[in-house]
Structures are given as structure tokens and as C-alpha cells.
Amino acid sequence: MNRSKPHHILAILCLLLALLPLAACDRNDGNDRADTGGAAGPAFLQVGEFAINRISPERTEVRDGAGRILVLIPREAPIPADCVPSQVIRVPVRRVAAYGYFDIAVLRALGVLEQTLVGVTAPAKRWHIPEIKQGMESGRITFLGDAASIDYERLKQSEPELVLTWDPSIIPLLDALHIPAVVTTTPTAMCLNTRMRFVQFLAPFFLKEKEAAAYFTRIETALGDIRARTAGLNPQPKVMWGDIYEKRVMVEPGNAWVGELVGLAQSDYQFKDVFGTACIEITLERFLYSGQDADIFFTYRTEEMGATSKEALAKLNPLIKDIAPLKRGKVYAPLPHYNQSADRLDEILTEISAILHPEAYPGYRLHYFVELPDTEPAAKERS
């Protein structure tokens, strides 16, 4: 081996030092925007595990939650030779079937819900969005059956050009029906940034990039307001979000948007060390341990599911009765329309912040959550 001057080592170390400042560049949690590509939006946009890559004005490639690459082309363009037809989507999409409440709320945020939605997987009585109630009454929107057992005949009759789903198991069947599908969930929970930007992922399907940008700006403004109002507030409440069911304990992990929001609003999320999918299962012991000194508990259960009071929750599951929020803290349950209101994400974020720090929001009235009383209202009246 030849001996050479030690300046080689110095050169390499200098190169490293020169590149290190990159590590200190502005970070935005994996949802970075590339150079702008004109009115249509950035040339490459990553939204958590989703991505949009604008190859040319006639071709945009998107990566969905299952890692599938779908190609968006103008309605009149021929199908590219290098693509499987079931993965080519003509835009703007005119007829959509959707599984998730969140996806549908995003369609509403884009302003395309009324014109495009033709199929849903929840019956009319479960909807709180007026456009869907009316659409189902008029027959424009079809109930396709429960998400676990879709009626494919009805799906075919509703002639969707696109299905938004969380269930990859239907894709082989949809391929057989020549209906393209986009998987809109991912193995890891959506972080706050992904939740805010998901609208930008769906926008190119409907050529509604401007509406998506406006929505994102609205949410960003709300977050800025939350930061400003809660900066330096003390004490920081300890928050837990989840529930105990008959056999399982489910919580929102620290990487989920609620976990991040709690931290951003000067509060302490009890499951911030838990990482993984949304509504993740943890051990009962961990849940009870975190509940020992929590101040605020957000339950998944709605009033319909029995969350009418702390007493009712304790009756549903006696194991939960000893956690601090039930004994001396506060418990909040979502109102029925909460899950269908992602188009009002700015209001939801503000409301959660107002719950965590009521002193920063004097006179705030809740619209998406309800604080559970200690005992059943009826029992209270009797006493």
C-alpha cells in the first residue's frame, strides 16, 4: 500500500464539514415541496408516504398509500403504452366512490363533493354532511354496502371512475372491473403535516390545486394562531387519546397528527413515544400507567357508543375508572359529526387547543367535542 500525505484525510473531513450544515436546514417532517412547476403546483410533492410527481403537462405520477404508482392523464389523452390500464386515471375525475369519512371530507374541502361523489360505504342515517344526505335521498349517491362487504354489482352500476379506499384487498376485484383505485391510508399514522397536505395529494385528480392551496393556507394560519396563543403557557396538561375496548386497548401514537398537535399546543402527550399506525394497539398496563397522572382524556367513543359520562365509561370498562382524568381530570368525547369534518380541520385544531388551554380561548364554545359530566345527566337530575 502506498503512503500518501495526510491531507487526504483532511480533505474528506472538510467535505463532511461542508455538507454538515445541510443537516441544520429547515425540516418539515418529510412533507417537502419541490421547486414550483407553475399553476399546477410543485413538480414533486411528498405528502408523508404519498407523492405527486409531475412528469409533463400530460402526465402526472402519484404514489398512493400502498406504494402503487398511478398515472394521471388528461381525459382525452390516449392511454400511455407503458402503463397498466387499471392504473391510469383520467383527470379531472368526474365520478368517485369513497370508503373513508376523511377522504370524503377532503373532497368537500376541494369543492368537488356534490359533483363527483357517487358511492359511499355508510348508510344514509350515519351521515352528517348535508350534500351526502341529499345525494342519497335523490339517488345520486349510492350506498355500496358495508366496507367489509361491498356490493360489487351496485359499485359497477354507479360507474365510478375512481375508488378511494383504505382496503387494498379490493384492488384485484376492482382491477377485474377496470375501475382504478387509490389507497388513501398508510401503514404509519398521518402526521400533522400529512393531514394538512393530504388535500394537495387528492387535488390533481380533480385539477383543484388552487383550492387545495387555499385550504392548506387556512390550516397553516390556524396553526400559527395556536402557536401564538399557547406559547409559554403553563402548566402543560398531560393528554391521552384512545380507549379500552372489550379485548383491546387502542390509542393514537405520538407520530399521529393529534399527538403532534398536543405537543405543538404546549401540552404533554402521554403516548408520544408510541410510533406506528393510527389507532394503534398497546398493552393495558401501559394505558393505565399513562393514565395515572394524565389531566385530559380524549375517548374514541361517541355518545352513541356509550360515552355519555365518566360514570358510564367506568361502567363500560371498570379498568378505566382509576385513571386520573376520570377521577379528577377532564374527559372529552367526539360529537357524531367530528369524523366527517376534516374539511374544517382548522376549526378542529383550534378546538383541541382550546380544550388543552381554555385560558387562551376565553368564551370558546365546543363544536366537535363534548366534555363528559361525572355522572349520567338523568341520574344527576334525580339526585
Partner: protein, 274 residues
């Protein structure tokens, strides 16, 4: 030209370069550790879209988090070059010195002396194999198998069908919360190449090879007995990876070198203790 080659060869053969690269790699990997923290979605597509498209999209648009990776590739390329030149220099020396001797004993001595260098060449082949993998692999993402719907592979006449999903569930008592959860996913597949049919078992650590493709288990459902009723499905990564043969060859070469090295070490120890 010759002088430039000579200077490059001398630069790459420097021990100082080796030390510098090892230090630089250490610092770089520490940087990578912090950059990777909870940013896996940025790097996951690298597994299926290939190195160049990844660099052009995720890579260059997230330099704060991916800069360390670009640098890692430069450092690894330099390390491979450095290893190759140093090893070749030494091998040439050994072969020159060994050209005088004859006989089986001499050949054995030479083979044993070459052992560490065979390992070094093996390492380079492994690195090149990985590079070929990331540059040339054709990956079909998001392929899902459900019972009754066969999967066709592009450019191949055959079909893959999910016959049954037969996972192993945890039935122990010690981890109560894990009871009835899948601890070993196992799918029984039917591989039909148009002329013959055969069954194969696919699991997390056991890919199935079929018509030049390898099928890897990516995800599956259901994940437990009882609980939410999920439809049976098996998500696959389907890969056609020309790098596999190279890194398997590299591993074989490395193992050969290691075996010779251990043999020499054992025989040398026995000789010195006697």
C-alpha cells in the same frame, strides 16, 4: 494519461485515505442516524423505485434529510476503490513473490496468504451487487393477492394464485395481549407457468421465486383471530433483481476467504503451541 492513472492509483491506494474514509463514514453514519429518525417514508420508496428516480425526486428535494445518503454513496465508492487498489497491490506483491516457489505446499501457502484479500474482493462484489440492485431492479409495488384472483406478472406467461393464508397464531400464556395474534404469516401459493403447476410457501423470511421474479411478503390480513374482521389478503413486493446473483457471489467469495483465513489461524496456533 498514464501519469493521471498512476496518480489516481496512488491516491486510491493510500492508507491515509483508508483511515480518513473510516472516520468520515463514522461521522456520516452518525448524521444518517439522526436524519433517519422518524423519516422512514422518505427512504422507503428507495426499495422499489430505484436509485436514480429516487435521487431525482425524494433525494434532491429533501437534502437536509438525504444529504448524508448522497455522501455515503461517495464514501462507499471511494472505500470500494481504496479496497480494490490496496488489495490488488498486495495480491500482485504476493503473486510476484510466490512465482518463485513450486509444489503443493507453496500453493497452499499462497492460497492462505491470499485469504484476507479474497475477503476484500468479496466485499467489493457485495457492494457492487447492491449498487446493481438499486440501479437495475424492476419492482412491482402494491400487488395484492386475494383468494380466487390470480396475479399475472409482466413479461411472463405464468400466474400466481393465493390458495390459502395459513398463519401461526400466538397461543402462549405469558404475553396475554399477544394471544391470538399472528406470529408467523404463511401463504400457500399456486404457481402456474402455463405448462405445469406447483405449490409454494411464502412467508416473511421466505420469498418465492417464479419466472425470474422473486415474490416477497410485504403485508397481510387478518393479523389476529377474532377482533375486526379483515378480508384475507397478502400484499407483495414483486422484484426482478439482477444484483442478487452478484451479492450472493460476493458472499460466497467472502466466505471462502474467511474459511481460508480461519484455517490458517487455527493451523498457525497449533504450530506455535507445539
Amino acid at each position: 494519461m498514464n501519469r493521471a492513472l498512476f496518480l489516481s492509483w496512488r491516491f486510491l491506494g493510500s492508507i491515509n485515505l483508508t483511515v480518513g474514509l473510516c472516520l468520515a463514514l463514522t461521522v456520516n453514519l452518525i448524521w444518517g442516524y439522526f436524519s433517519l429518525n422518524r423519516r422512514t417514508p422518505l427512504f422507503t420508496p428507495l426499495n422499489d423505485m430505484g436509485l436514480i428516480p429516487w435521487m431525482q425526486t425524494y433525494g434532491v428535494h429533501n437534502l437536509a434529510a438525504t444529504g448524508w445518503f448522497f455522501l455515503l454513496m461517495i464514501l462507499l465508492a471511494l472505500l470500494a476503490g481504496n479496497t480494490f487498489v490496496c488489495t490488488t497491490n498486495r495480491v500482485v506483491q504476493l503473486l510476484t513473490a510466490g512465482s518463485d516457489g513450486k509444489g503443493a505446499g507453496h500453493r497452499k501457502w499462497l492460497a492462505l496468504k491470499l485469504a484476507p484479500h479474497i475477503m476484500h474482493y468479496g466485499l467489493i462484489v457485495i457492494l457492487v451487487g447492491y449498487l446493481v440492485s438499486y440501479l437495475c431492479t424492476n419492482v412491482l409495488t402494491g400487488r395484492t393477492l386475494v383468494p380466487g384472483f390470480p396475479l399475472s406478472l409482466p413479461g411472463a406467461s405464468g400466474q400466481v394464485t393465493l390458495l390459502a393464508f395459513e398463519p401461526e397464531y400466538y397461543q402462549g400464556q405469558r404475553l396475554a395481549f399477544w394471544r391470538n395474534e399472528v406470529i408467523a404469516a404463511r401463504a400457500r401459493l399456486l404457481l402456474d407457468d402455463g405448462t405445469a403447476k406447483q405449490e409454494a410457501i411464502l412467508s416473511c423470511t421466505r420469498p418465492v421465486r417464479f419466472q425470474g421474479y422473486s415474490l416477497h411478503l410485504r403485508n397481510f390480513a387478518p393479523k389476529s383471530q377474532g377482533g375486526m374482521k379483515m378480508k384475507t389478503r397478502v400484499d407483495l413486493y414483486v422484484r426482478k433483481d439482477p444484483g442478487v446473483a452478484l451479492y450472493l457471489a460476493g458472499i460466497a467469495l467472502f466466505t471462502l476467504g474467511l474459511a481460508l483465513y480461519v484455517y490458517e489461524w487455527v493451523t498457525h496456533r497449533e504450530a506455535t503451541t507445539e
